[in-house]
């Protein structure tokens, strides 16, 4: 055992580096957000069957959009900061989709994670800010808080209270393929990328 100590150092170096490599997907993924995106891109995730309610108070479900590509984002209507940016980005997306070959094949869904406050009335009012809901853009909530949590958990969306009555959450566009699986997550301002993906999948 003349070189036992040196061997020990080598073993620790090897296993330590391996652990860090594994824990960061080859030193590329250091944050939970990028880990979530990488994981979704690698293995698409089915979404839980959850009853949703839209801005008119009518019941909808993700199955209703089967055969279409869904671009989904999360908001809460009291939000005055990032969610307004998210809204105008989806507005741009709608302008691009409508009157193009994508119309009817791609829908936009804005989902509130604050169903206790955001009822159909609040959702409708929120929709009005961006020209109202139509066949392309739906504003929905999962009426029960449990269902909302299941949805958020399935997509690894984390919502944190900001201490001022609002929330902080992952701002991103979630791309759901015609089979109802979450297949990609892109930056909320990556409109071109989201459209390209939708075109590919639709």
């Amino acid at each position: 055992m003349k070189h036992g100590g040196i061997v020990g150092i080598m073993v620790v170096l090897l296993f330590g580096t391996a652990a860090l490599w594994w824990g960061s997907d080859g030193f590329t993924t250091f944050t939970a957000e990028s880990a979530r995106r990488l994981d979704v891109a690698r293995s698409p995730r089915p979404l839980p069957a959850v009853a949703l309610e839209d801005q008119r108070g009518e019941t909808v479900a993700f199955e209703d959009f089967a055969g279409k590509v869904v671009l989904l984002n999360f908001v809460y209507t009291r939000c005055t900061t990032i969610c307004t940016v998210l809204g105008s980005e989806f507005e741009q997306l709608r302008d691009e989709i409508e009157h193009s070959e994508l119309e009817g094949r791609v829908v936009l869904v804005t989902l509130t994670f604050d169903p206790e406050h955001d009822g159909p009335k609040q959702l409708a009012r929120y929709a009005e800010r961006y020209g109202g809901a139509d066949a392309t853009w739906h504003f929905v909530r999962a009426p029960s808080m449990d269902d909302t949590r299941r949805l958020l958990r399935a997509m690894d969306v984390v919502v944190v209270a900001d201490g001022f009555g609002g929330f902080v959450h992952n701002a991103a566009i979630h791309v759901i393929d015609p089979r109802g699986r979450l297949v990609r997550i892109v930056d909320s301002d990556a409109i071109g990328e989201a459209l390209a993906l939708a075109r590919e999948l639709a």
């Binding site: 055992m1 003349k2 036992g4 100590g5 040196i6 020990g8 150092i9 073993v11 620790v12 170096l13 296993f15 330590g16 580096t17 652990a19 860090l20 824990g23 960061s24 993924t29 250091f30 944050t31 939970a32 957000e33 990028s34 880990a35 690894d156 984390v158 944190v160 900001d162 201490g163 902080v168 992952n170």
Partner: protein, 199 residues
């Protein structure tokens, strides 16, 4: 055997690792990184001082073993400094349990065994690396425009960044003051095997 140290270690574990107190620490990024994790490592360290035999520095193997042990602790702490694993520990109790166990057993314990076995150069090396890693993390958290952790707010990130730079400064001063102004008188005779001064 109930010694003073084992009591402190048990107390630290109780405060840092037992829910719901553990969750309270983890609810804030600064508490999580700068209080809970150090407490866990310290608890492991104190437990380690109870079980580790005192070093025999005449044996070279002991020194190499010390380096391996401190390296292990470094890897373990580094792993839990990766933002996604901080997030994962908050999101999953199972990951959190693994975090607590590894920080105690794979970071604190080996540190207690390894640190007394390190020579002054190795200690200095670890110290210097700790300073630059604190600067790196400080800059990372201070300047990163987006959220690094999904579980925490971005303003807490900036606080953590400043705190990390503060820690770097503290480590620097704590290292520099004794090195520059130590009260030791030194050894009177210049003896060295490599090169002896001829009379």
């Amino acid at each position: 055997m109930l010694s003073y140290r084992s009591l402190v270690a048990a107390g630290l574990l109780l405060i840092a690792a037992v829910p719901p107190l553990a969750w309270w620490w983890e609810a804030s990024l600064v508490r999580h990184m700068l209080m809970q994790i150090p407490m866990l490592v310290l608890a492991g360290f104190l437990l380690g001082t109870l079980v580790a035999p005192s070093p025999d520095l005449g044996v070279r193997e002991e020194r190499a073993g010390g380096i391996a042990a401190v390296l292990l602790a470094t890897f373990c702490v580094t792993f839990w400094m990766i933002p996604r694993w901080l997030d994962a520990a908050v999101a999953s109790h199972r990951v959190d349990a693994i975090k607590i166990m590894t920080l105690v057993l794979l970071a604190g314990l080996p540190l207690a065994w390894g640190w007394p076995r390190l020579g002054p150069v190795a200690r200095g090396f670890v110290w210097v690396q700790a300073i630059s890693m604190a600067i790196v993390l400080g800059l990372l958290y201070l300047t990163f425009p987006n959220r690094l952790c999904n579980s925490y707010l971005v303003n807490e990130q900036a606080i953590l960044g400043i705190a990390m730079l503060g820690i770097a400064g503290f480590l620097g001063l704590a290292g520099a003051v004794p090195v520059l102004f130590g009260a030791n008188n030194g050894s009177p005779a210049p003896r060295h095997p490599g090169a002896r001064v001829d009379p």
